[in-house]
């Protein structure tokens, strides 16, 4: 849950951070300022570079300004891309590490109990009723293991009782060999 919240927050921060930056650069105010600055910088160029007496036609000035403005827009886009790259690296890489570490942690929490259950099932198959599932502190499936252990314990006790009853019946009662043989194969906590 914590992993999910952190990962989601980071992904949203990355997403909205990038979009927020892009939208800010293209807000009405920024574009208005950029247009004003375009005109100013064009004026600077004319003031410095235009030979004496040469007059700039209004259309030519407009073309120059358009060129300057579009070059500025390209710079802004480049800035957004490089900012995106930077943010992806600074946020994305830790996020990947975090997700990777989280995945390993989660898989261990699940894979560990599954391994234990598998082992215990094999023990049961070998008629060992003393086997119990023992999980680590942070493992998933503790409740199931508890119920499972309780069920096995009941079975263990039941079979132990049957074994005891069979023994105590002794010579007086003739039990089928198959039953005695079958019961003797079970390993129980109490014989």
């Amino acid at each position: 849950m914590v992993l999910l919240i952190i990962s989601t927050t980071l992904i949203f921060a990355l997403h909205f951070g990038i979009w927020g930056y892009a939208l800010k650069e293209f807000s009405d105010e920024s574009v208005r300022n950029a247009l004003k600055m375009t005109s100013r910088l064009n004026d600077y160029e004319i003031a410095r570079y235009q030979p004496a007496g040469e007059v700039t036609l209004p259309k030519l000035a407009l073309l120059r300004e358009t060129e300057l403005f579009s070059s500025r827009q390209r710079e802004i886009l480049q800035g957004i891309l490089s900012e995106t790259q930077k943010r992806t690296i600074f946020l994305g890489i830790p996020l990947l590490f975090f997700i990777g570490w989280g995945s390993i942690f989660i898989s261990h929490k699940i894979a560990g109990p599954l391994y234990h259950f598998n082992r215990i099932f094999k023990e049961l198959k070998a008629k060992n009723l003393t086997a119990r599932v023992r999980l680590r502190k942070y493992d998933e499936g503790k409740k199931i293991a508890e119920t499972f252990n309780e069920a096995v314990l009941e079975l263990d006790r039941s079979v132990a009782k049957m074994k005891k009853a069979a023994r105590e019946a002794g010579e007086g009662v003739k039990l089928p060999n198959a039953l005695t043989e079958e019961l003797s194969q079970f390993k129980t906590t109490q014989n």
């Binding site: 100013r40 003031a47 570079y49 030979p51 004496a52 300057l68 070059s71």
Partner: protein
Amino acid sequence: MLLCAFFPHSGILFAAEETLSDQELLRKIQRDSIQYFVDCSDPGTGLTLDSTQPGSPSSIAATGFSLAALAIGQKQGWLSYQQAYHQILKTLETALNGAQHQKGFFYHFLDPKTGRRVWGSEASSIDTALFIAGALLAGEYFKGTPIETLSQQIYDRVDWKWMLNRSDLICMGWKPQTGFLPYYWDSYSELMILQALAIGSPTHPIPPSLWNQWSRFEEEYNGARIVYSHTGSLFTYQYAQAFIDFRKLNDQGINYFENSKNASLANRQFCIENSSEFLTYGKDSWGLTASLGPGGYKAYGALPGQALHDGTVAPYGSAASIVFTPEESLNAIRFFYENFRDQLYGKYGFKDSFNLGKDWWAQEYLGIDQGIMVLMIENYFSEGVWKPFMKIPAIQKWIRACRLNAVPPEAGLSSPAPSEPVS
């Protein structure tokens, strides 16, 4: 009386505003203008905004003026040593390691936060020179500190020869996509600071003979022969002389200090002659120089030269001529301040310009325009830029190499006495 009872200091303040002496007024302008460089420089990089217009990039020339202004501000006690030192150091570190450049030439406009080239600007020779001049001056003010070392490293890195583009003139700039610009510094203008630094460079100097390659067009106006810039803008007569003390230098019979004095007087005279047509102009309202105007930024100027004008006056124009024309400049400053303070004066000193005929008032401050006023006022009072700047070995080398002090003043060259500051 009632107002004074509630606000006991207000009366004193108003009275103080009204009775500012010339010195107090000039220092106020200087101090307020310096604040531009404190407030409008990026705290992370130290790069200074071109202007107060929202969305403005940083300008490398304005950043150069910033270095000089901060050093002056510290000297005057308006900024603490630590504040000035750290801002200058940060700026120089950015310039050396973070600001985009080509063979040491900085791009004209940079992103204030990153130092990356913006607006497709050119690697600019003059703007780099103005930055280097400011940096070297700061190095002199903070001698023996890393500021001096870094300034020298930045200067040493500039490959001035490369900017010649195999010609005899320094190119105005270079762009990655198109190479060298088709414009060269070919005639008298602010180019002298660029030439001085290029010839004086300890690492990549250009030949001293190139000092003679640019044209010095002369024309008579207002009873004086003036070597003029093609725009006739006042700033072209001021920028180099904000740093270099030309009073005792002569160049083939030309004294550029005297020349700028004549150009400033011509600018004023031009305004007087056109005052019937343009409401802004007058004997105390002059200063035709590159500035904002009702139709955008223009290289306004007077005769001799192109003399583009439309009634727009920039207070910084006349104010920055104070070393050349103390009386006329002071009268203009006082006229602007006393008559148009509400519209024309703000938190960073004089706003850029105004035009009474069109009822137009600039709402902005431009870094280089605030900067030139700070430097020139300092020169006026104490030669506070000239003295340390003239000690720089590169400047001494340029003077020797171009034989600018070869002829003594007695030989008939005009060599004005230093201006008397108003106390």
